[in-house]
Amino acid sequence: MKIIAIVGTNSTKSTNRQLLQYMKVHFETKADIELVEIKDIPVFNKPADKKVPDLVLEIADKIKEADGVIIGTPEYDHSIPAVLMNALAWLSYGIFPLLGKPVMITGASYGTLGSSRAQLQLRQILNAPEIKANVLADEFLLSHSLQAFDSDGNLVDLETIQKLDAIFDDFRLFVKITGKLSNAQELLHKEAENFDWETLS
């Protein structure tokens, strides 16, 4: 099973990246997880010519080919970082790689709340007409993330590991189930493609 893990931050030091790196190693017998960085994507400015940067097209291709996507998001000001919003804006601008794609959300934060509010906002964004991903209901929130890893980058707390294991097992099932949800798929794709803000009435 091929999974693309989007690092939802451009910060060089990030426990969200660390969590995804841990998952890549920890789940290597269960899935092939590839981390994707979004920090070099230019700022989305809704260009009239609808031209999407090559870097975004490369990421879109990876997502299209993958069976599922993990998005690791920090929380800035009660919401997801601008850089992640930016990536999602490009990834839904005349291209629809996330449509119907199974998505699991993870989030790490230094404090107690573990990016809970950002995750809720991300769910709403992923449900927008030009994205329409299939998001796993389970939440994985890693609080006090600076203390969560040992020096080898492994999660320390056993209960946290068990919870992550369980959610990831559910996600693998979810990927398979979602693959069978094909009835509305074509319709949604058509809707997204025909979604033209200029001709809305």
């Binding site: 451009n10 060089t12 989305f44 400015n45 601008a82 850089v83 919003m85 709403q124």
Partner: protein, 405 residues
């Protein structure tokens, strides 16, 4: 009231920009609205420095000094634009200009939802601890079907929509009045009145207190004079014409730069003893500490307070009335902050003038008269300061010498 309108879209064509332009034009009697673009702001990154972006510095300085901010947000993917979020992240990380700032949200969208979800997100973002704005409750102004909403002059067509928008804005103005006492003034840093922090325009080869400073610096810099043309913003004048222009101002004008160096005054032709704020030609170029060298320490503190409060953006001007026994003189000193292109403090434009002839003219022209009250022409300088800040009393004149009073 002075508001800043933040255009939450970085796209070339934006109905949110049109909406703010319309508000600026339609309601210009109610408040002054300056529109700010966000299209050159880089993506927020914790590892970078916000001050590297001109546009961010401009937004920071303007928001800091504004009485309130109106944010117009589009909706992308059920939320605000990444560009707007990036601006808010920058301005909630190292610096916090939105702290305790009254904010109103408006939004325009193509579809009939009119940015409803984006506005809910924006509210949450604005109340995050690092942002900490005071967002106007209720009064949600959602402009749906924006494509059909404006006529060719950029005016909103539907009269009911205009009425509702006006109500929302009136409520915001009231809200700003109610909330502004909660404003946290920026701390006032100590001022260097000895000019030890040269700025790019400082001429360091000549000592500021040199009595021949003007001549020596003119030589060093090859300063133009006489009939040489100078290109100004916006016009062309010769140096002679600039001098005539400034000399004819019915004020005593003084220029002190942001290194606290007294560079210029416009009344060198006048007998210093007849000025409201005495200046002598040898003072041009002086350190402000030298200009004020006869002041007692407490008054020096007041000078520092005036400069500090203009520099940090707490106020754009400080105004004070200097007591004068002559009833025909209302000796008014106005210290107006000057700004660089990025909105940061560039120095003081001091305007000293007798307000009495203007007042008399106004009363005569309008057939009105003063009815007295607790204020009189000889008002005490301490109570006359029009500023609302408590703490240090802004009574000292920042650039004129003690001998002037």
């Amino acid at each position: 009231m002075k508001f800043v309108g933040l255009i939450g879209s970085n796209a070339d064509q934006s109905y949110n920009r049109m909406l703010l332009q319309y508000i600026r034009k339609q309601f210009k009697i109610k408040f002054e609205l300056e529109l700010l673009e966000i299209n050159d702001v880089p993506m927020f990154n914790q590892d970078d420095n916000w001050q590297d972006s001109f546009q961010l510095r401009l937004i920071y300085n303007k928001v800091t000094r504004a009485d309130g901010v109106i944010i117009a947000t589009p909706e992308h993917n059920h939320t605000i634009t990444a560009a707007l979020k990036s601006v808010l992240e920058w301005l909630s990380y190292d610096v916090h200009p939105f702290d305790s700032k009254p904010v109103m949200i408006v939004g325009a969208s193509y579809y009939d939802q009119g940015t409803s979800r984006a506005q809910v997100h924006l509210r949450k973002i604005l109340e995050a601890p690092g942002v900490n704005a005071y967002t106007l409750p209720g009064n949600e102004f959602l402009l749906g079907k924006a494509k059909e909403a404006f006529d060719e002059n950029g005016d909103i067509i539907n009269a009911g929509t205009v009425t509702f928008l006006e109500q929302c804005l009136d409520n915001f103005v009231k809200y700003v009045e109610v909330v502004s006492p909660l404003k946290k003034p920026m701390p006032i840093e100590p001022e260097d009145l000895d000019c030890n922090h040269p700025i790019p325009t400082s001429v360091t080869e000549v000592d500021p207190d040199d009595p021949d400073w003007v001549e020596k610096v003119a030589k060093l810099t090859n300063a133009v004079s006489g009939n040489t043309y100078v290109k100004l913003d916006h016009g062309i004048l010769t140096v002679d014409q600039i001098n005539m222009f400034l000399k004819s101002m019915p004020f005593e004008l003084t220029y002190a730069d942001d290194n606290n160096q007294f560079l210029y005054y416009n009344n060198a032709h006048q007998d210093p003893d007849t000025m409201f704020a005495k200046r002598v030609p040898e003072q041009s170029g002086n350190r402000l500490s030298t200009v004020h060298n006869s002041l007692p320490p407490q008054r020096m503190k007041n000078v520092e307070w005036v400069i500090g409060t203009l520099r940090n953006g707490n106020q754009e001007y400080v105004r004070t009335l200097i007591p004068n026994p002559n009833p025909n003189i209302l000796n008014t000193h106005n210290y107006q902050a000057m700004y660089y292109d990025d909105g940061s403090y560039a120095g003081i434009n001091e305007i000293v003038f007798n307000f009495k002839p203007w007042l008399d003219w106004y009363l005569k022209t309008t057939g009105q008269q003063l009815v007295g009250g607790k204020f009189s022409a000889n008002v005490d300088a301490n109570s006359s300061a029009s500023t609302s800040n408590s703490g240090a009393s802004p009574t000292a004149d920042a650039t004129s010498g003690a001998s002037s009073h």
